[in-house]
C-alpha cells in the first residue's frame, strides 16, 4: 500500500483529468480561505511570504479567491538569496503582476557584501545569513504582525506540532513549549508590540492535496516541477542541478543531462532533483502517491543535524 492509500491513485487521477474538485479539496480550500480572512481581518500589517514554490503558488491562489473581486489586501514578500533557480524568478515576476499585488523582494545585502554563498560557507551558515537573518530584516522593516506562510504539517515532524496561528516573539522566535491553546477555529490574534503571528492556512494539506488542487485549479507553477532533461551533477547520492555558471565543479566532475524534476524548490545548490519522467500533473500526482521518500529529502538544509528544522524555527526561520 502506498503512503496515501493505493486505492486513491485512480480517483486522484480522475480528479486531475477532469479538473473536478473533490469534497475533500473543497473543504481544505474553504478552511484555508477562512484562516486567511481571519488573519487579515485581525491584522494591522499582514504580509504573505512567497517562495515561488508549489505551496506558495497555492497560497497566493487561495488569497486571490478569498478576497475576489478585490486584490489580496497584503503584499507578497520574497526573500531572495540570489541563488534561486532562474525559472523561479521569471514565474515570480509574472505571477505577481498578474495578481495585481505588491511584490517586495528582500536580499540580505550584508550577506552579499560578506561574500556568503552556499558553496563557501556551508549550508547551515548560508541559510542562517541569507534566509533567516534576511527574513528577520524584511519583517522588521515592514513591521508585519501577521505573516502568512505555506507550511504544511505533513512536511516535517516539528511542523506537525505547530499551531495554525503560531506566535513569534519580538526576535521572531518560536517557543514550542509556550504555544497558545488553539480551540476550534477561534484563533487568538492578540499581540503585544513587536510580536507577530505566522499563519499557516495549508496546515492540514498533504503533498498530494497540493498537486490535486494545482491540477483542479490550473495554477501556474515553476516548470522545474515537471520532468525534463537538465544538466546535473551527482553529489552524496543526490542530483544537484547546474543552473548557472556560479556552481563550482570539483575536478573530474562534469554536468550530465538527466531526466529529472523537483519535488520541492529552494536555492538551487541546496535543492536536489529526483530522476523522473513525470512531465504532466497526472503523472506527478501518481508519482507523489507512490513515493517512498518524503519531499524534504531533497532539501539539504533539513539534514544539518538532529532537530535541524525545529532549531531553525526557534531562530526565526519559517
Amino acid at each position: 500500500m502506498s503512503r496515501y492509500g493505493g486505492g486513491q491513485t485512480i480517483l486522484a487521477a480522475v480528479d486531475a483529468i477532469f479538473g473536478v474538485m473533490s469534497s475533500c479539496l473543497s473543504a481544505l480550500e474553504s478552511e484555508a480561505i477562512e484562516i486567511i480572512r481571519e488573519g487579515v481581518a485581525t491584522a494591522a500589517r499582514p504580509v504573505m511570504l512567497y517562495s515561488i514554490g508549489k505551496d506558495s503558488s497555492v497560497l497566493l491562489h487561495l488569497a486571490r479567491k478569498a478576497f475576489w473581486p478585490a486584490q489580496p489586501p497584503m503584499p507578497l514578500l520574497h526573500v531572495d538569496t540570489t541563488w534561486k533557480f532562474r525559472e523561479m524568478i521569471a514565474l515570480r515576476d509574472r505571477v505577481a503582476a498578474e495578481a495585481g499585488v505588491q511584490l517586495i523582494v528582500h536580499t540580505n545585502q550584508e550577506g552579499i557584501d560578506a561574500g556568503i554563498t552556499p558553496f563557501t560557507h556551508g549550508s547551515d551558515h548560508y541559510t542562517d545569513i541569507m534566509k533567516t537573518v534576511a527574513l528577520r530584516q524584511a519583517l522588521d522593516a515592514g513591521r508585519y504582525d501577521m505573516v502568512f506562510v505555506g507550511a504544511r504539517r505533513d512536511e516535517e515532524k516539528s511542523r506537525a506540532k505547530e499551531r495554525v496561528f503560531s506566535l513569534r516573539n519580538g526576535a521572531h522566535q518560536w517557543d514550542p513549549k509556550a504555544q497558545r491553546p488553539e480551540l476550534w477555529n477561534l484563533y487568538n490574534t492578540r499581540l503585544h508590540a513587536g510580536e507577530s503571528l505566522r499563519v499557516a492556512p495549508l496546515s492540514n494539506w498533504s503533498e498530494p492535496d497540493i498537486w490535486r488542487y494545482i491540477a483542479a485549479e490550473g495554477i501556474p507553477i515553476v516548470p522545474l516541477y515537471y520532468a525534463a532533461e537538465r544538466p546535473v551533477v551527482e553529489r552524496d547520492g543526490q542530483w544537484i542541478m547546474v543552473d548557472d555558471g556560479r556552481m563550482p565543479l570539483v575536478p573530474g566532475e562534469r554536468p550530465q543531462l538527466r531526466r529529472v524534476r523537483f519535488r520541492t524548490l529552494g536555492c538551487y545548490p541546496l535543492t536536489a532533483a529526483i530522476e523522473s519522467s513525470a512531465d504532466t500533473l497526472d503523472a506527478i500526482v501518481a508519482e507523489t502517491l507512490a513515493a517512498e521518500h518524503s519531499e524534504r529529502r531533497g532539501r539539504l538544509i533539513d539534514h544539518d543535524g538532529e532537530a535541524a528544522m525545529e532549531r531553525k524555527k526557534r531562530e526565526g526561520y519559517f
Partner: protein, 607 residues
C-alpha cells in the same frame, strides 16, 4: 473523496498513545523511508524500547520530547488507507499539558482513549474523556493497551470496560466502542490478534474506517458569521464568512443578527464568477440588497429562523492559565467572529474530573472544569454549543498578557432579571493599567540638591519609555512654575508644595502611569505622608545619596556657593536640615555609582 476523519488520541501519561499511532502509521505503510531512517537513528539515541525501533519518535516532533521521552504538545498527522483519510491529533498525557490536549480535542469528531491494562481508568483518563466530550467529540473508542502485560486476560479487559462505561454514562456519551490492543506489537490495531480469541469485534483501524460521524448541524437553517467585509471600492460590498449550517442561494431572505434587519441575498461570489448555491462548510462572499449595515462579528441567518441574542449565560469552562479564574475579573471573549468583554459573575461549581461530582469553588485553577455564569459587555448572537460548535464555543483571553486562559461552551442564556446586570464598564485604576500593560507606581527620588536626582530621573524615564512604558516626571521645574507658582520657600509652603506633588502623583498612578518624582523632600514626615497615599507596593522611596561636601563641590547651579554666602536662606544641607530615609526601598550612592548604574539598579527593582 470525503474530508478526513479527525480524531484525537488521549489518555494518561505512558499509556502508549504516541507508540500506538506510530505503530498504525508504520503498519499502514504511511512512513517514508527517510523518516523511518530518522526514527531508527533517534531510537538508538533516545529510544525506550531497547534495540527495537521506538515508533513513538515518529510523532514526538520536538527535541525536548525525544530527549525526555514524553509528549509535550499535540501533533497533527495525516494518513490514509484505501477506505478513508484521517488526521490524528496525538495529545500529551501529562496533566500540565491538558490545554494542548484540549487543542487537539476541539477539532476532533472522535476520540480514541487509551488505558493501560494494568492501571485501568485513571483520573487523567476521566479528565480527557470529559474534556473531549465537552468540546464536542461525539464518538469514543476505549483502547485497552498493553494487554500483553496482563496475559491477554479477558476479565481484566472487561473490568476496565465496565468502569469506563460507567464514566461514559455519567458524562452522557452515547457511543463507546471498546477494543483490547497492544500498541508495541500491533495486536488488534491493523490486524486481528490471535491472542484475544474472546474478542470478535473490529480492529481499531477497521473501526475508524467504518464509523459514521454525522455533523450535528444536519437540518439546521442557514447561518454564517461575518469574518470580513470586502469593500474594494464604493461600488462593491461583500460579506465574507464560512457557512456553519444550512444552505443559501440568491433570492433568499436573510436576517442580520444581532441588529435584526433583513435583506435579500443578491449574489454569492465565487472566483471570477458567481455561484448558484452554497452549503455548510463553504467559505463564501455574499452581496445583499438593500445594502444594510453589516460588520465583522454579525451573523447572517435565515430570516425566518433568527438567532438568539443574549448577554447573560450559563457556560462550562476549562481553565488553562496559572493565574486562577476569578469572579468579577474582565476578560476578552471570542465567540465565532465576535470579540467582547466578559466577566464571570458566579462560579456555580467545579466539576470533579473523576466522578463528575459538583464541588463548591471560589475560583477555578489551572486544568479545572467548572460551570459558571457569564456576562458579556454587549449582547451577542449565539447558539447553545450542543446545537452548534461554531456558534456556542468560546475562548477567554487575558487582557494584560494576551494569553488564551480559558475555553468554554455556552449552555443557555440566562434571564436577565434573575442575574446581576453587567457592571457597565467600571473604569478604574486596574483597567487603565491593563490598557497600558504596565504596573503603575510612584518612584520618589529624595536627596540633596546636586545629589544627582534630576540626572537619574531623566535617564530613568528615558529607559522606561524605551521599553514601551508610559511615564511622567514631576520635578521642581514643571511644578514650581505652574501648579505651585503661589508657593514660596517658607516651612509651611514647602510642606504644601510636597503635599500637592504627592497628590498629583497619586492621581497619575491611578491614571496608569509610572510617575517619577524628583524632589529634595528633606523631611521624613512629608515622605511618609506621600507614601500613605499609595498602596504599599505602589510607592518606592529612592534615596539619592551624596554627602553635603560632594554636592557642594559639584554645585552645578552655584546654589551652595550662594547659600554659603548667605544669599539664599533655608537651603537644605546648609542652614536647613535633611533627614535621610531610614529604610529607603532603594539606596543609590552617587559618589560611588555612575548615573547609568543607578538607573540599572532601579530598573532591576522594577522588573
Amino acid at each position: 473523496m470525503d474530508p478526513p476523519l479527525r480524531f484525537v488520541l488521549c489518555g494518561s501519561v505512558d499509556d502508549g498513545k504516541s507508540t500506538l499511532i506510530g505503530r498504525i502509521l508504520h503498519d499502514c505503510g504511511q512512513v517514508f523511508a527517510d523518516q523511518m531512517e530518522g526514527v531508527e537513528e533517534d531510537s538508538r539515541r533516545y529510544g525506550t524500547q531497547g534495540d527495537a525501533t521506538d515508533l513513538a519518535l515518529l510523532l514526538d516532533g520536538l527535541k525536548d520530547e525525544r530527549q525526555q521521552g514524553i509528549t509535550i504538545d499535540v501533533a497533527h498527522r495525516g494518513f490514509a488507507t484505501a477506505r478513508r483519510r484521517f488526521i490524528v491529533a496525538d495529545a500529551p498525557g501529562h496533566e500540565q499539558y491538558t490545554r494542548n490536549m484540549a487543542t487537539g480535542a476541539s477539532t476532533a469528531r472522535l476520540a480514541v482513549v487509551l488505558a493501560d491494562a494494568r492501571k485501568g481508568i485513571l483520573p487523567q483518563t476521566a479528565r480527557h474523556t470529559r474534556i473531549a466530550a465537552m468540546f464536542g467529540v461525539g464518538h469514543f473508542v476505549l483502547a485497552v493497551n498493553k494487554m500483553d502485560l496482563v496475559g491477554w486476560d479477558h476479565d481484566a479487559f472487561e473490568s476496565i470496560v465496565s468502569g469506563y462505561r460507567t464514566l461514559a454514562e455519567e458524562i452522557g456519551i452515547p457511543d463507546v466502542a471498546t477494543i483490547p490492543v497492544c500498541a508495541l506489537t500491533g495486536d488488534n490495531l491493523t490486524r486481528s490478534s490471535g491472542r484475544t480469541p474472546w474478542y470478535t469485534g473490529p480492529t481499531l483501524l477497521e473501526h475508524l474506517e467504518a464509523v459514521a460521524v454525522e455533523p450535528r448541524t444536519a437540518g439546521q437553517p442557514f447561518r454564517m458569521p461575518v469574518q470580513y467585509v470586502n469593500r474594494p471600492d464604493a461600488g462593491f460590498r461583500g460579506y465574507c464568512g464560512r457557512v456553519v449550517s444550512g444552505t443559501v442561494k440568491p433570492g433568499d431572505r436573510v436576517r442580520i443578527s444581532p441588529a435584526g434587519t433583513t435583506a435579500t441575498v443578491e449574489s454569492i461570489m465565487a472566483w471570477q464568477d458567481t455561484r448558484a448555491r452554497a452549503k455548510r462548510g463553504d467559505s463564501i462572499t455574499l452581496t445583499l440588497r438593500p445594502d444594510v449595515d453589516v460588520t465583522r462579528g454579525d451573523v447572517i441567518v435565515d430570516a425566518d429562523r433568527p438567532l438568539e441574542v443574549a448577554d447573560q449565560f450559563q457556560a462550562k469552562i476549562l481553565w488553562m492559565d496559572d493565574a486562577p479564574l476569578t469572579v468579577g475579573r474582565r476578560y476578552r471573549l471570542k465567540l465565532h467572529t465576535r470579540e467582547v468583554e466578559a466577566t464571570v459573575t458566579r462560579i456555580r461549581h467545579r466539576i470533579d474530573v473523576s466522578d463528575g461530582s459538583q464541588l463548591a469553588a471560589p475560583h477555578l485553577g489551572i486544568n479545572d472544569l467548572g460551570v459558571v455564569n457569564l456576562a458579556t459587555s454587549r449582547p451577542v448572537p449565539f447558539a447553545p454549543f450542543d446545537e452548534s460548535r461554531e456558534l456556542g464555543g468560546f475562548i477567554l483571553i487575558d487582557r494584560a498578557t494576551n494569553a488564551t486562559v480559558g475555553a468554554g461552551t455556552l449552555t443557555f442564556a440566562l434571564m436577565r432579571a434573575a442575574n446581576l446586570k453587567w457592571q457597565d464598564f467600571d473604569v478604574d485604576g486596574e483597567v487603565r493599567a491593563e490598557l497600558k500593560r504596565q504596573r503603575p507606581r510612584c518612584l520618589w527620588l529624595t536627596g540633596l540638591s546636586a545629589s544627582g536626582k534630576s540626572t537619574i530621573a531623566n535617564l530613568l524615564e528615558r529607559q522606561l519609555v524605551t521599553e514601551g512604558r508610559h511615564t511622567y516626571l514631576l520635578d521642581g521645574d514643571n511644578v514650581r512654575h505652574g501648579l505651585n507658582r503661589d508657593l514660596g520657600f517658607t516651612e509651611a509652603d514647602r510642606v504644601e508644595n510636597i503635599r500637592r506633588v504627592a497628590e498629583v502623583a497619586r492621581l497619575m498612578v491611578d491614571a496608569g502611569l509610572i510617575v517619577i518624582v524628583s524632589f529634595i523632600s528633606p523631611f521624613r514626615s512629608e515622605r511618609d505622608f506621600a507614601r500613605s497615599l499609595f498602596e504599599p507596593d505602589d510607592f518606592m522611596e529612592i534615596f539619592v545619596d551624596a554627602s553635603v561636601e560632594a554636592c557642594a563641590a559639584r554645585d552645578p547651579k552655584g546654589l551652595y556657593a550662594k547659600a554659603k554666602r548667605g544669599e539664599i536662606r533655608n537651603f537644605t544641607g546648609i542652614d536647613s536640615p535633611y533627614e535621610p530615609p531610614e529604610r529607603p526601598d532603594v539606596h543609590l550612592d552617587t559618589e560611588g555609582l555612575s548615573p547609568e548604574e543607578c538607573v540599572e539598579i532601579v530598573m532591576r527593582r522594577l522588573a
